[in-house]
């Protein structure tokens, strides 16, 4: 499923994406979910009750000094689903419940750590390939030994918002190799790796780059990449300047000075609403350990030499 494609509430792909998101969301928060055709029957845990029914839940807490009891919610993901005898709530962008789910999901999971998985088959295939290449080259090399090591990457996802009267948000995802400082402008390849929370490999390469510096370098790259389109900027600036001038003339006629609180406030309002700008904020960060094959070769020519090298396993 590619969620970056267009989003249409009646598009079956989008509906399916929403359904899958909801299922994962509820199940990861200890809810029992039954799928009944187009409906989801969710036996909500106390945490989700609190999330979905904030006022009711807080009232319960205030009156009983305890957690709100679990409740059952009935949702549907299609607007036109025929109801039986029981009403259900639509899960769609803009809907109360779905927006709460999105808010909750966006309020959590901001910083994480993961270890990319590698299968023994991938490792064996890589070793075979290395062996073949090693013996074909001059001077010849022989694979002496190997091990899987974890190399640290930092992935940061950014929220880039273009504001000029209205606002449009995009997300950018880049990554940096914490060992050598190399930047991956697009972190898609890393994001597609299967990951787990606990490392299965014992050997981890230490990060050479401090985290603060790594984040700042990624931010610099996003900043560079988010320079606004000159035409968009010029048009926005012209509109903003004209509005500001009109306002200035209005206040001049009223005989106010620049430090007049009303004038200052109106300028701020106008600036907030109309001034063209790009706002960049980090959305999430993940420390991701990616498996590499660390090998030692014996090279035979004039003298024997041991050569060490590392190969990515993704």
């Amino acid at each position: 499923m590619n969620l970056t494609d267009s989003h249409d509430p009646h598009d079956p792909n989008d509906i399916e994406a929403i359904r899958r998101f909801a299922l994962t969301f509820f199940r990861s928060r200890n809810c029992e979910v039954q799928e009944q055709g187009d409906h989801l029957l969710v036996h909500a845990s106390s945490e989700v009750v609190r999330l979905l029914e904030e006022p009711w839940s807080y009232l319960w807490q205030a009156l009983s000094h305890g957690e709100a009891p679990p409740r059952t919610h009935r949702f549907r993901t299609r607007r036109d689903t025929q109801e039986t005898d029981e009403e259900s709530e639509l899960l769609a962008p803009g809907g109360r419940a779905f927006e709460r789910l999105l808010d909750a999901a966006l309020g959590q999971g901001k910083v994480t750590r993961g270890y990319a998985l590698v299968s023994s088959q991938q490792v064996n295939e890589q070793i075979m390939a290395l062996r073949r290449r090693a013996t074909r080259r001059q001077p010849k090399r022989y694979l002496v030994d190997w091990k899987v090591v974890q190399k640290p990457f930092l992935i940061v996802t950014w929220l880039v918002t273009f504001i000029c009267g209205s606002s449009k948000a995009q997300d950018r995802r880049n990554a940096i190799d914490l060992e050598n400082g190399e930047i991956l402008e697009d972190a898609t390849a890393l994001l597609q790796l299967p990951v787990v929370e606990t490392s299965l490999e014992s050997s981890t390469i230490p990060a050479a780059l401090p985290l603060q510096e790594a984040v700042e370098r990624l931010m610099g790259e996003v900043r560079q990449d988010s320079q606004p389109d000159p035409q968009w900027l010029a048009a926005g600036k012209a509109r903003y300047e004209a509005a500001l001038q009109r306002m200035e003339r209005y206040f001049l006629e009223l005989g106010v000075t620049a430090d007049d609180p009303e004038y200052v406030r109106r300028c701020e309002e106008l600036r907030w609403r109309e001034a063209p700008r790009v706002e960049i904020a980090p959305d999430t960060a993940a420390l991701l350990y990616v498996p590499y094959l660390q090998v030692r070769f014996l090279q035979t020519s004039m003298c024997e030499e041991i050569i060490e090298d590392r190969y990515p396993l993704f």
Partner: protein, 584 residues
């Protein structure tokens, strides 16, 4: 010395084009360094949620994707929301004519901004009597849960507050309200802000806000300056300086110069949907008069009371005394014997004039002898035959109680609705009628603040003499959301003043055919609303007989017609927005 405006202009325009949220950046680094990691699944869900949200925000109006199944906004409402969001950037004067759903439009704009994350806190200022209705419309149509302000703490605790302007501008509320960082302010009935010297205008002007919607069907009531001050609240200087506006666009208070230029400029800040464009949205009004012949006893009572009222009214007016009870009595005698009897006895108890008291008690005795109520006898079989739900309107509580008793006796499930019900009870009765009862018997007071568009049949058991009140009654049913033609039955007794007034309203003023709200302005223009009843009573008292009364009523009809013409001539906004309409 204060800095002059021109001195800061340059610095204001120097904008940092790319801004980085350094606080968020610092928090992210800290969490990483301190190893405050959250579960991987949460992080993956965060990324999915972000993609869904960004995508939904990037494609048109998000607010439309989750509307209630039974609510479909009208095309003009969608167009309005789109223009406010995309072209006017959240600051607009919504000046649709009455009844086209400005509340819905404002609600959808608010929802759109809430969903786009640009508005978190909003203040909605409405007339006190409409606060509950606003809350209900926002909840049911737009899925917005707003808090109706009842105490001081709600200003800061609730994110979406519905309050009355009168309360908000008064201490101790005022200071608290002005301290709040509102993202959006919505003002209903914004014509109350037409004068920049008033407290209302000044209060709204200094409210901290990023976006603002002003709602009024009449942005110009007296002169073009009102429009200037309303727009200045939204965007100071948008229409130029006052001097510039006057010289460029005003040729007198009501006359517009450079209409095309003004129209073009207003298109960037004002939206006015007209009934002409949206008339197809409304079902028809089907009006039918049921003529009832009074029994000899009823006729005797009617004639005696009318003669008394005529005589007494003349003498009271010449002595400059209050004649209102007589107007009520005259209207009651067209409604029910019971209502008439109660008033006659009350008046007899209060008067100090023995002769008058004797007359009143004698009339009460005639009332006591009346055996039947011809209107009710006509109404009951009509309701029994029908499978529809009905609203029966009456002006008087006594008649309402009588009707309820008689309907229940006849096995017709009926409930009452009147102005003394509290807000909660009103909602409850409305819902009860919707689900259970066949008939709602409503007094005039009950005609306001309740929407009955699920019902399409109404009976005017008695007629208010004020056309605006009739309009309010019909407006409860004949409004956006009504799916069927609205059938209105006027019960009228032959040979009574009510018959003449019905003729005036139905045949001369075409009251029942007009669309909601049109009459308001016409009546205001022709006769002040409060004096309409008084004027009719004067004509009744001055007339020696029915034919003279009828002729005098024709004068009122002519006045209304003149007012309609004059109103169109004197309203620059309507001229501005209806040139094509009138050209055709």
């Amino acid at each position: 010395m204060a800095v002059q405006l021109s001195q800061i202009k340059a610095s204001t325009l120097e904008l940092p084009m790319v801004l980085v949220d350094t606080r968020a950046l610092r928090k992210t680094v800290e969490a990483l360094e301190e190893g405050r990691f959250e579960p991987l699944t949460w992080w993956q869900q965060h990324l999915t949620a972000r993609t869904i949200r960004n995508n939904s925000r990037a494609q048109g109006l998000i607010s439309l994707k989750s509307l209630p199944r039974d609510f479909i906004p009208y095309p003009h409402q969608l167009e309005t929301v789109h223009r406010v969001v995309e072209e006017m950037h959240g600051s607009a004067l919504l000046a649709d004519e009455v009844g086209l759903g400005k509340t819905i439009e404002a609600g959808l704009v608010l929802k759109e901004y809430l969903l786009r994350g640009l508005v978190r806190r909003a203040l909605i200022l409405v007339p006190a009597s409409l606060r509950i209705q606003w809350a209900r419309e926002l909840r049911e149509k737009c899925g917005i849960q707003a808090t109706v302000q009842r105490s001081e703490w709600e200003w800061s605790r609730a994110d979406l507050v519905i309050a009355s302007l009168e309360t908000a501008k008064r201490e101790p509320h005022r200071s608290i309200v002005l301290e709040q960082p509102w993202d959006m302010v919505i003002v209903d009935e914004a014509h109350k802000l037409k004068n920049r010297k008033t407290q209302n205008w000044q209060f709204v002007n200094i409210l901290p806000k990023k976006y603002m919607l002003l709602l009024t069907a009449t942005p110009i009531q007296n002169d073009l300056n009102e429009l200037y001050y309303l727009v200045s609240l939204l965007r100071p200087g948008y229409l130029g300086t006052k001097r510039h506006f006057t010289s460029r666009f005003m040729a007198g208070k009501h006359e517009v110069k450079d209409a095309e230029g003004l129209r073009q400029l207003l298109d960037g800040v004002l939206i006015r949907n007209r009934r002409g464009q949206a008339d197809l949205l409304f079902p028809k009004r089907v009006v039918h008069a049921e003529w009832v012949t009074l029994s000899p006893q009823e006729r005797e009572l009617y004639q005696t009371v009318t003669d008394f009222v005529r005589r007494r009214y003349r003498s009271l007016r010449s002595a400059r005394q209050n004649a209102l009870p007589l107007i009520i009595l005259q209207r009651e005698v067209c409604s029910s014997v019971q209502a008439t009897a109660v008033t006659l006895l009350n008046m007899a108890d209060r008067t100090e004039d023995k002769q008058i008291e004797r007359e009143l008690r004698s009339m009460a005795a005639i009332a006591a002898r009346v055996q039947q109520n011809s209107k009710i006898e006509r109404l009951i079989p009509m309701l029994q035959k029908s499978e529809q739900q009905w609203v029966v309107f009456t002006e008087f509580r006594t008649t309402q109680e009588l009707l309820l008793r008689r309907l229940l006796d006849a096995g017709i499930p009926a409930i009452g609705f009147h102005g003394e019900l509290g807000r909660g009870s009103r909602e409850w009765v409305q819902s009860l009628f919707h689900r259970r009862a066949k008939v709602l018997v409503s007094t005039q007071a009950g005609g306001e603040g309740i929407n009955l568009q699920f019902c399409s049949h109404a009976v005017n058991f008695d007629l208010p003499w004020n056309p605006m009140r009739i309009e309010q009654r019909i407006g409860r049913l004949h409004r956006i959301g009504q799916q069927h033609d609205v059938h209105i039955i006027n019960l009228s007794s032959v040979g009574t003043v009510e018959e003449k007034i019905l003729y005036l309203l139905q045949e001369k003023i075409h009251l029942f055919e007009r669309v909601i709200g049109e009459l308001d302005a016409i009546v205001r223009q022709s006769l002040s609303e409060s004096s309409f009843e008084g004027r009719i009573m004067e004509l009744l008292a001055e007339s020696e007989d029915d034919s003279e009364f009828e002729a005098k009523l024709q004068e009122i009809a002519d006045q209304v017609e003149n007012a309609k013409q004059q109103l169109w001539r004197s309203n620059p906004l309507d001229r501005l927005y209806s040139q094509e309409e009138h050209a055709t």
